[in-house]
Amino acid sequence: MKKLLSYVTMTALAVFLMAPFVWMVLVSLQPSKAPIPTLDHLVPTQPAWSNYKLVLFDQPNLPVMRFFMNSLFVTLSVVIGQLFVSSLAAYGFARMRFAGRDLIFYVFLGSLMFSGPVTQLPVYLLVRSLGWLDTYAALIVPGVSSAFSVFLLRQAFMGIPIELDEAARIDGAGEFRIYSRIVLPLSGAALATCSAFSFFAVWTDFFWPLLSTNTSSMRTLEVGLSVFKTSYGSTNWPLEMTATVLVMIPLLVAFLFSQRYFTKGIMIGSIK
């Protein structure tokens, strides 16, 4: 009886959380420019798959394929850059000793919690004075290191027995060799977790790409979608929902592959 009640509750909750997504898919298959259907006419009699072709390829002012490639390129660059830069720093903080180490680490932690609201304007001015506005540099460089990744990887590296380093050092290995041949290979899960977090953070970032780009050839999917909303607004829900589905698909696919690292990362993050 208790079991049944649990299943009923869990299913009801799943319906509540998933209903908007189901609606999104169904409306995206209504004929272009059709009004929002009432619930009893929600399932289209003739699914308008052509909406997808229309949105992907036939919108000269809204090049969705271009947005997609921009998002992909920017996200992958940031994820790879962040893995390298942050894991190097995490190695230094977790496994080496130098004056001021802990103090510098606390500065990283502090910036993670408190720098958010006050840095956007100056970073924009900095990027503008470098002449990077509306370039990939503006979208990528500010993201290639993250205090959050440094923190997460440091926690993981500290869990690897330090004896391994010492043994390698006796065998004549240098620090970079220990980092690349011992610590990194043993931290696969933590690195995957970091990649998953930064992938979703960069892919769905809205504020920074909105500020730092202004031509449609440099927009990312997330900003492109908001432009889509202003150009179609309430006038063409089927096409707008088609665009929304297209934005969601890569996220869902990535989530299915990375979800176990996701829950892990959240747990590492919480043991401050």
């Binding site: 998933m18 609606w23 720093a89 230094g92 080496m96 130098f98 304007l121 001015l125 747990m267």
Partner: protein, 292 residues
Amino acid sequence: MKKGKLGYLFIAPATIHLLVFAIFPMVFSVFLSLFRWNLLTSERTFLGLANYTYAFGDPLFWNALWNSTKYALLSVPLGMAAGLLVAILVNQKLRGVTLFRTLYYIPAISSGVAISILWIYIYMPETGLINSVLGLLHINNKTDFLKNESLAMYALVFMSIWVGLGPRMVLFLSGLIGIPQSLYEAAELDGAGKLRSFWNVTLPMLIPTTFFVMITSTIGALQVFTPVYIMTQGGPNEKTDMVGYHIYVEAWSKFLIGIASAKSFVLLAVIVLVSILQFKILKNQLEGYSTT
């Protein structure tokens, strides 16, 4: 552990990046806030603290601060309660429970813009999801939730609970799994019922998790931007104009970056103060338990 200067080399790239893209901007922001500074013309005049006095005398800024406070006071506790309840629900050994956990997480990994657009539809007056479902139940309701002055804020709060459910559930779940089973057995031996052991074992053991969820949720809630930008633009009648969006408008629509910087320092001060306060409360709570 190796001593020496080599460590600096390892942390150099990340530290230089932090200096250029976080520390220097923070310092530069102080400088900005002391000037009348136009983003487009780059004209600047030194004003001293005048931007701060202006900010504190600006009723729209107070309104935004009040709205953000209201949003945080509603969305954080409600979101945490929902996350905890769902964590308890999915912390049972049931077949297929991991599938439900995965489903519940999906809103949180979705695009913020996509979610906001979907919820515009949910809240629409005629064909919106809420009113359509009410219509099926023969309740004729035509409320335009996002254009209703007294409801728009609650509409945004409700949506934030929906979006944040998954991560909060996972955090509480990890807290629940960490509670030693022996504590429950001991409570049972002492004759405690289900409710009592929840109150006297589960909740106290979850204090560190609760603190982490509370502090990160509060920081997030005080800076909310995307839903306001996409769904309400601060309206109706500035009832959902929150600090994150208010500062955005000052900087990017009115181009007043001196004032925007001053206001963002006020926001930062609020965030730091609230965090310290929450930390103090946590410390008292933990001490309360260790002495009994």
